[in-house]
Amino acid sequence: MIKVSQLTKKFGSHLSLDNVSCEFKKNESIALMGANGAGKTTLIRSILGYYHPNYGEVLINGLNPVKERVKVLESISFVPQLPPPIKLNLDELMQYISISAKVDKDLIMHYANEMKLDVKENLYKSFFKLSGGMKQKMLIAISLAKNSSIIIYDEPTANLDPKARDDFYRLLKQNEDEKILLFVTHRLEEVKDLVNRQIYMDLGKVVSDERL
């Protein structure tokens, strides 16, 4: 369970999160929506424990993600908005993940395969040399292989072709049971079948929160 209470985050004088409170429970799939700059990414990063809040707190299964980051992150899979220019090759990246997060390399390969990404072909290629869509497929494969109870996606489909999007939603549908799925998106129609709750943010506040 994720519990966000009165969370406030400022950057300089800019208020990115303004007293946000919400709870996410097991078996909820949430579409997190809102205009550019509304604070969606900031909220997600706070859940991951990257920011020290100005006020309020986040608790993941009762734990503070800043202070207990290792325990908290064991139960979270995350795909960021922009795939980072990681210089490791795919083999090294998988090694990093398999050792640090105890994820099976073969399982990553399996999901990559399902996403139509040939990992074996690109094993010794730097991650940042993959195409934008291939990068996202790789990160998605990793996130599914990690098999966490909380899955957080910050607009992961931006660079995916329509076929890959379908593959992605199909895989997600198979994997969402008993989990929290938090999905930032600008296209609700795409994730309609997947989500059962939608939250709108604007100017750092939650402006609507409805169950479908």
Binding site: R45, L48, G49, Y50, Y51, H52, R69, V70, K71, L73, E74, I76, F78, P80, L82, P83, P84, P85, I86, K87, L88, E92, Q95, Y96, I97, I99, S100, A101, L139
Partner: protein, 275 residues
């Protein structure tokens, strides 16, 4: 522990593939090759010849270029990864900040230290092959000094990297630190000395707080145990400690500086937002 090794190992692998590492290794390897080609081992200057002479020249050039190399390549490590969102992804896995940071430090240390020592080993092996006498004590002293110098500047670089905002500023700071320690302190102290406002002991003490300076003095101390080339300064140094203590200080002190700065960098890294 296994995460620490993992991060150090992956950072090392990544660095070794990087272009700067190739240039870096070529510079130090090339330096040694150049000395042999130029016949440094055959020449005799100030009474030292052979490999000792070569190592002394090598260390004197290394004192100047190693710090700037380390600073420039390392000063952006953490801040660069933060800027381009690598941290955002890599730290979404269950790795403690301690393991991540110190893993990076260790990986980077190995990367910068190995080529400079390796170049010396090549010199020793090649020299031995040509029948030169191997100056072991100098070799071990320099291995230790390079270890200390690398750690001092690596620590400073990680410290800067932990708070600096943009790459340009990071490079600017790196260059400033280098020039400052290399020349400005000396120039300032010489002018103070000439004005005779402060007593010499104080000025020498300040000069010796500079790790680059202590390194310079230590590098010649085996050739010249009385430190005669330094003039009256030697009197103060050897008056306050014996030669062996001085050598220990010259290794221990920069090492401590490196660790202290690296630790401060870690504290800042931990306190600041990660992305």
């Amino acid at each position: 522990m296994k995460n620490l090794i993992l991060i150090a190992y992956l950072d090392l692998k990544e660095s070794i593939r990087a272009k700067w590492f190739v240039v870096y290794s070529l510079v130090f390897g090339g330096l040694i090759a150049l000395f042999f080609i130029a016949g440094v081992t055959e020449s005799q200057v100030m009474g030292f010849s052979g490999l000792s002479r070569l190592l002394l020249m090598y260390i004197q050039i290394t004192i100047v270029i190693l710090p700037i190399f380390i600073l420039i390549t390392t000063v952006r490590s953490i801040s660069g990864d933060r800027d381009n969102h690598i941290l955002e992804y890599m730290l979404s896995f269950p790795i403690s900040l301690k393991q991540y940071y110190w893993g990076k430090v260790i990986g980077r240390f190995i990367t910068v230290y190995i080529p400079v020592v390796f170049a010396m080993i090549i010199a020793i092996v090649y020299g031995a092959f040509k029948g030169a006498i191997i100056p072991w004590s100098i070799f071990f002293l320099y291995t230790g000094l390079l270890f200390a110098l690398s750690s001092a500047f690596l620590g400073i670089a990680f410290f800067v990297s932990s708070f600096v905002k943009s790459s340009e500023v990071a490079l600017g700071i790196a260059f400033f630190i280098w020039i400052f320690l290399l020349a400005f302190i000396d120039i300032a102290l010489i002018s103070l000395m000439m004005q005779q406002r402060f007593n010499e002991e104080l000025i020498i003490l300040i000069a010796m707080l500079n790790p680059m300076e202590i390194f310079r003095v230590a590098a010649i101390s085996l050739f010249d145990p009385e430190l005669t080339v330094m003039g009256p300064v030697a009197f103060y140094i050897l008056d306050s400690m014996s030669q062996s203590v001085f050598i220990l200080v010259s290794i221990g002190y920069p090492l401590t500086i490196g660790l202290v700065f690296a630790f401060l960098g870690f504290k800042i890294f931990e306190k600041k937002d990660l992305v």
